[in-house]
């Protein structure tokens, strides 16, 4: 079995998702940022900022560091939230946080971390699953995404470039957040006309 999309970005024989957990990213926590995160209001579609490509940021700038802290703080107070991207708090920037450590669908994970200017550099093993989003609160949809990916980005504060392998639910979450930074919502990727549903339960 071979899908064209499975080959995407795999030049050089890199095997996404087999690289183990990135120790530096796993060790990272928002306390490194050294600033207090503020809880921001989460914006909802059809806010224009959600459909615009975010600006690349300087990961070492004070604004980016504060934004990173704010994203984590906002994620923490939002029930069930496993990731939040800057456009969701009204900031058109390529910054997001994730923390899937408590989610039952998680296999490997890197705890809480923030990435700037992140991109997917390799992906494979597409799987379909139903997603929701705090910015599209009334709908869910079936989205096919890679279950093994390699993501490259920079840590806020130090600006270190990291390349991490993610799998299962963390891989899905990273792709969802990276999409936000590119102005895409899960509804832009739903599998088809019968793949959109009214939300049944609110967390």
């Amino acid at each position: 079995m071979s899908h064209p999309s499975d080959q995407q970005g795999q030049q050089g024989g890199q095997q996404p998702g087999t690289g183990g957990v990135h120790e530096r990213v796993l060790a990272w926590s928002e306390t490194e940022l050294g600033v207090e995160g503020r809880v921001l209001e989460v914006v909802r579609a059809p806010a224009a900022v959600l459909s615009a490509v975010g600006e690349r940021v300087d990961p070492t700038s004070p604004e980016t560091v504060q934004l990173a802290a704010d994203l984590v703080a906002t994620m923490r107070v939002s029930p069930g939230c496993v990731g939040l991207a800057a456009p969701q708090v009204g900031v058109g920037a390529q910054v997001f946080c994730v923390d899937v450590s408590e989610h039952p669908k998680t296999r490997d994970h890197h705890g809480t971390f923030v990435l700037c200017n992140a991109e997917v550099v390799a992906s494979s093993r597409n799987e379909k699953a139903r997603e929701g989003c705090m910015s599209v609160p009334d709908l869910t949809g079936d989205v096919k995404r890679a279950s093994r990916i390699v993501v490259r980005g920079q840590l806020p504060g130090t600006g270190e470039e990291v390349e991490l392998h993610a799998n299962a639910f963390e891989a899905r979450c990273l792709q969802h957040e990276i999409d936000h930074c590119q102005g895409l919502l899960f509804v832009d990727r739903v599998a088809g006309a019968h793949a959109i549903f009214a939300r049944q339960t609110y967390l």
């Binding site: 579609a45 059809p46 599209v136 609160p137 709908l139 509804v187 832009d188 739903v190 088809g192």
Partner: protein, 181 residues
């Protein structure tokens, strides 16, 4: 599927049930159809802003009047509307072109669907599935589209995006992926 086929081609009836939702509508409707020896073929059911909406095609020898009589009790409390009508057999269309999924979303305003699907029709595209949802202020359309062989997909996509931009909404057109296993 659920009844033996006779040698004579059976008659197709389209049944619609629309109205106030409650548990058991489908069970009652399909039970009454089965009682007439009708075979359920394609069907679709969803809730449209909370309203029960079902369409189905059933095949068999029962005349429309008998089906209407059998389903009449469904509408007894006045909250459901049931229609039955005979429809011809349609040959399954052989799709020679390419299949696409279109997503359009943005702030609700009149005319989004007509403007966007107008561009699809202009290109000779056929919509084979459509869902639209209004959720708060967010209007969302997802359509599956067959474009004819030889269609300039980039041009169709550009025309759709231009129509969407004029209405202040966004549109994405991407291939409908089917993994052959």
């Amino acid at each position: 599927m659920n009844s033996p086929r006779s040698t004579a081609p059976s008659i197709l009836h389209a049944v619609t049930v629309l109205g106030h939702d409650r548990p058991g509508i489908i069970a009652e409707a399909t039970g009454r159809l089965a009682g007439l020896g009708l075979n359920l073929e394609d069907s679709t059911m969803t809730l449209l802003r909370g309203h029960f909406a079902m369409m189905l095609l059933c095949a068999g020898d029962a005349p429309a009047a008998d089906i209407e009589t059998a389903l009449a009790p469904l509408a007894d409390d006045g909250t459901l509307t049931v229609t039955v009508r005979e429809v011809p057999q349609e040959p399954a269309a052989a799709a020679a072109g390419t299949s696409w999924v279109l997503t359009v979303h943005g702030g609700d305003r009149p005319g989004i669907v007509s403007a966007v699907v107008g561009q699809v029709a202009e290109a000779g595209g056929n919509i084979t599935d459509l869902t639209t949802r209004l959720a708060g202020d967010l209007y969302l359309l997802v359509a599956e589209i067959d474009l004819p062989a030889g269609a300039d997909v980039d041009a169709v996509g550009a025309a759709i995006r231009a129509a969407a931009t004029d209405l202040g909404v966004g549109a994405t057109l991407r291939p409908a992926e089917a993994d052959e296993l």
